[in-house]
């Protein structure tokens, strides 16, 4: 009853992102800039990817980089209307397309 599926690499293949040269990882996002999430890499650790989904890091969601900690890690992001800090190691698993 409680079995939950792990995240597929793409929830739905986003046609708009096929020319994906311009995608970067969430860890590379500059302070204040926003991006749209392309996918969350679930390879090797599907549970962690599922958790990121439950936190709001779902394909197509808008995310903004708010600030870095003084020692560069972790980083605060705004997603789904709230702020959450991720370590860069996690942020690197999330591929995003910067919005202009």
């Amino acid at each position: 009853m409680f079995q939950l599926p792990t995240l597929r690499r793409h929830a739905a293949t986003p046609s708009a992102y096929t020319e994906s040269d311009s995608t970067i990882t969430l860890a590379d996002l500059q302070q204040g800039s926003s991006a749209r999430i392309v996918d969350v890499c679930g390879d090797g650790d599907p549970a962690a990817a599922r958790r990121l989904f439950d936190l709001g890091f779902a394909p197509d969601a808008l995310v903004q980089m708010i600030r870095r900690a003084p020692l560069a890690d972790p980083v605060i992001f705004r997603i789904a209307g709230y702020d959450v800090a991720l370590r860069r190691a996690q942020a690197r698993r999330i591929r995003v397309l910067p919005t202009l």
């Binding site: 929830a11 739905a12 986003p14 046609s15 708009a16 394909p59 197509d60």
Partner: protein, 204 residues
């Protein structure tokens, strides 16, 4: 959130709501006007179509912001729900694959249904709770005329705000609405009631 989504990006947002007094029916709320028509569905694409033909579904009809589905006898939503959900989401992604049934309509029919839904819904409830009454007079080419009557009909200000409320609610279901106004002085009963209302005011 829904507004800036591009078709094909992800699944069409849907969720089911219970239909009072009918356990076999579920109203699947969808974004407004994903389909170009309202009313009965003759045929639907892919798996949803199969659900219609194999007797899982007894009937399927389209509303401005929902698809109303009724299961065949002896079936229940707990079992059929997941398959229906996947099927209806896939079908809504292919709006031109749907065939309207007898009595289904487009344009003004969808608008008429939207107005009726608003009158039956929250806005109508609000008017009725204040002793008023609201009814649809006509729908012509994107223009709507409603009739406001009852306790608050003598007050021009309330008529204005009411019309505005109805306008907003209808537009939410039918964004192409071109205009909505209260019918001026329609029919003897309303006029009489209005006179009575004025008389009562003077008498005080």
């Amino acid at each position: 959130m829904v507004a800036n989504r591009q078709p094909g990006d992800a699944l069409v947002p849907v969720h089911p709501e219970a239909v009072t007094g009918d356990a076999r029916a579920l109203r699947w709320r969808t974004p407004v006007a994903v389909l170009a028509f309202v009313g009965a569905v003759e045929a639907a694409p892919d798996d949803l179509g199969r659900l219609m033909t194999d007797g899982t579904l007894e009937s399927l009809s389209v509303e401005p912001d929902a698809v109303l589905a009724r299961l065949g006898a002896g079936r229940d939503w707990r079992t059929e729900g997941p398959r229906f959900r996947t099927a209806v989401q896939a079908a809504l992604g292919r709006p031109d694959g749907w065939t309207p049934g007898i009595g289904a309509g487009t344009g003004d029919d969808a608008l008429r249904m939207a107005v009726e839904q608003v009158i039956a819904g929250e806005v109508g409830d609000y008017v009725r709770s204040h002793g008023g009454e609201i009814s649809l007079v006509s729908v012509t080419d994107g223009h709507v005329e409603v009739n406001l009557s009852g306790a608050c009909s003598h007050c021009p200000a309330s008529e204005m705000t009411l019309t505005q409320r109805v306008d907003v609610a209808v537009r939410r279901l039918y964004p192409e609405l071109r205009g909505l106004r209260a019918a001026p002085n329609v029919g003897a009963p309303t006029a009489a009631r209005r006179l009575l209302g004025m008389a009562a005011t003077r008498g005080r």
